[in-house]
Symmetry: C2
Subunit: 136 residues, 2 copies
DNA sequence: TAGTTAATGCAACTAAGTCGCATTTAAAAA
DNA sequence: TTTTTAAATGCGACTTAGTTGCATTAACTA
């Protein structure tokens, strides 16, 4: 349960923290502050301060995607991420573990390119930059 | 030669563009605007406008690293990059091609972690956050 | 060489994230 | 339970990489 997880990490159990972990846990996908700011009541300073506490306590991990936003997710087993340059979708790649490289410690892997849907022409950007979905 | 490359891409050959390609070509490593602003004379707006032209003409590619800065390099054969979380060094991984994933088009791979030097304790951050290099 | 169009410099702007500080709140101590 | 104390919060101001509008300048074209 969320409270006991925070207790183990010696984090004060505040309503902002419970709310934030609850939201991250329910969404089960990487999100930016922008993505969830309407689902949470705390100030953005509180969001970022708590996220970085969670990161240093290994409850959350993060990566940067296309654009300038950083994405956060509940820490699970190590896995890579894929960001689509066309539709900007972010996918957790459970199947593809980050590679190993002798001498290095690889902690994170981020791939960019064209996702399965966009490769098949399922989602394309129209001329206005809006994303449209067609059947394959 | 740099001029003929630009001609092929139907880019106006300006002194700013020649200077920028010259610098990127001579450094042979990914650099941010900050890294090279003292080596070039153009305004930062001109830098970013030209970089994005070069990217859309496939002369340059880019990726984001630790911190908020974006890094740019002359486009070579496809290769992955490694960013060290300790010393923030960026390495081009010529040996490791980006992986393939059925259905996807992977165009870029970015790995983060601890570089060979930092893993061996060759470079460590001291308490002031300065990076020091020791012999292994 | 003159005309056209794109490129440039400059200053103002944007937006994600950070920081200082006064106030509130969780948890320890009494 | 009440008091004490340190940590967490909200708010506004700030930072900084990158972008944009606009007047001016410099490549290419005829
Ligand atoms: Mn993930
Ligand atoms: Mn490279
Ligand atoms: Zn896509
Ligand atoms: Zn390192």
């Amino acid at each position: 349960m969320i409270n006991s997880i925070m207790q183990e990490k010696n984090l004060k159990i505040t309503s902002a923290r419970k709310e934030l972990l609850e939201v991250l846990n329910s969404l089960k996908r990487p999100v930016s502050f922008e993505d969830i700011k309407h689902k949470i009541t705390m100030d953005k300073a509180t969001f970022y301060r708590n996220i970085s506490k969670f990161e240093s306590e290994s409850l959350v991990n993060s990566f940067e995607s296309n654009g300038k936003k950083r994405y956060y997710e509940i820490r699970q087993f190590p896995h890579a991420h894929f960001v689509c340059n066309v539709c900007n979708t972010i996918e957790c790649l459970g199947e593809i573990p980050p590679p190993t490289l002798v001498g290095y410690t690889i902690l994170d892997a981020l791939y960019k390119g064209i996702c399965r849907n966009c490769t098949q022409g399922v989602c394309i950007k129209d001329l206005q930059g809006e994303i449209m979905y067609n059947s394959p």
